[in-house]
Amino acid sequence: MSEKITIQDIIELLAEKHNMSPKEADIFVKSMFELIEDALTIEKYVKVKGFGTFKLMEVKSREGVNIDARERIEIQGHAKISFTPDSNMKNLINKPFAHFETVILNEKTKLKDVVIEIEGEKEETFEDIVTNIIEETIVTENVASAELAEEINSITDEDIVIFEETLTANKPIVAEKLNTTEEETLESSEANLLSSEQENIIKESKKSIEDIITATIDLTQKTIKEEPIITIADSARIASCENKTLAESISLMKSNSSKESSTKEVVLTNPTYKAEKGTRISCDISNTSKTKVTRKVIIVIILMCIAGGIYWYLQSKIQPLIPIQSNSLVLQKRENSKVLTPINDSLTQHKDTANILIHIPKQESTTLSLQDTKTINAKKLSSIAKETSLADTVEYDITGTKTNYTLQEGESLVKLAVKFYGTKKLWPYIVRHNKNIIKDANKVPVGTILRIPELTPKTKES
């Protein structure tokens, strides 16, 4: 292969083939190529059948530039030998690649890559959402406990769910901050519980709708009573993490008091939770040793659970599910606080001192929380009533397009619904109005132009 064959080899092969003497063959081959050369000089054109055509091509004189001297020089016109192989020859040479054929390419051949790029962008946006949530939680962290309570009053049911999600997201951050403090045991147990909390949320959410409806009637009252206590406890914890000042002791006492109250309530609630508690305590004790290793894993699991929760929330448009979710969270949080007390020695010490020092504030806080619960109770009920009248119970007709809107980065259909209708629950109408444009309601790419429908409530007669 890739050897250099000379005229000598050809002569030998020819002599072998035709039983010629080497001398004769030598004369023949040499004279043959000499004739080609001579014929080229004389006629400037030689055609050999089965081989090809030799031609002398005239190259006209042209101007060039001498690179070294940078002078213009004239390149003399000369003859150039060109060789065009015979078609037969061409085919024989190209035999190994003969089976290839020219293919007409489709215009859409390269679109696959583009699709992949878009998918990548979508993933990024999802990550952005997660980061946004984390940022929000940081913001909420900074808000004082009292402000938080007020906010909860004004926020609707959905917001509470989201808020609780953010709170759960908060906790890892809080836990990180706590690293610097002495209360390491507390964080570890908290972090461990968070994962179990999330699992429980999913479990609860999977209950059938009928059960949920019946449960909601019973549980909504409980949640309304219990929620503010826990939120205060959480906020107190956050505050305690951030401020090591006098406020710390007060907040801790608050949390302790709330924990005590909550533990009492836990005793009253279902015995099944007690059993779960027992198992969890044992788990937590075993886990505390591995916390440093498992923390990263737990954070990942929490993020996944949040993502799952968001997805599930978008999937289930049924309103009764939302309070139940909050319920479950609240119940688990109560368990949290209960579990925390036996594990954390430092906390219990604090608790004792707090109990001794300030008995009165504790009572005050409990009474305050009770008052809060009442107000929240009323407000929440009213808000629920409003929501139902706005969203699901009343159906809307799409009567034409309000405006066209280009989806910006960081915006969702829910945000659009809030922007244009003031309520989140009307986003399916936007989807319905943009059936052709929106392929997947959960993933709408940035920059899509959406038609915002004009909604008018359906009359009961129709």
């Binding site: 050809i10 083939k17 004279s31 090809g52 192989p85 190994p96 690649f97």
Partner: protein
């Protein structure tokens, strides 16, 4: 010079009959093709080198219809004239 003229000229020079000459010429070409197909390059002193080169596949666009065509790879016979011959025609 056509093929016919070439054969008759060659047979006149060597004293062969046309039929034998054409047969011998075709067999010489056949040997050369065989060698080229095996991937060898054929160098003939005084004339030049015959070599097989691979041309890669490419996409060509029909300027009229804007149709894109994928041209497959192919093997081509390339002739490089010898320096002696080049100088002769300069």
């Amino acid at each position: 010079m056509s093929n016919k003229e070439f054969i008759s000229e060659l047979s006149r020079k060597l004293g062969y009959i046309n039929k034998d000459t054409s047969q011998l010429v075709s067999s010489v070409i056949g040997i050369m093709v065989q060698e080229l197909q095996d991937g060898n390059s054929v160098t003939i002193q005084g004339l030049g080198t015959f070599d097989v080169k691979k041309k890669l596949e490419r996409i060509s666009v029909n300027s009229v219809t804007q149709q894109r065509m994928l041209i497959p790879p192919k093997l081509v016979l390339v002739y490089t004239p010898s320096i002696v011959l080049k100088e002769k025609f300069k």
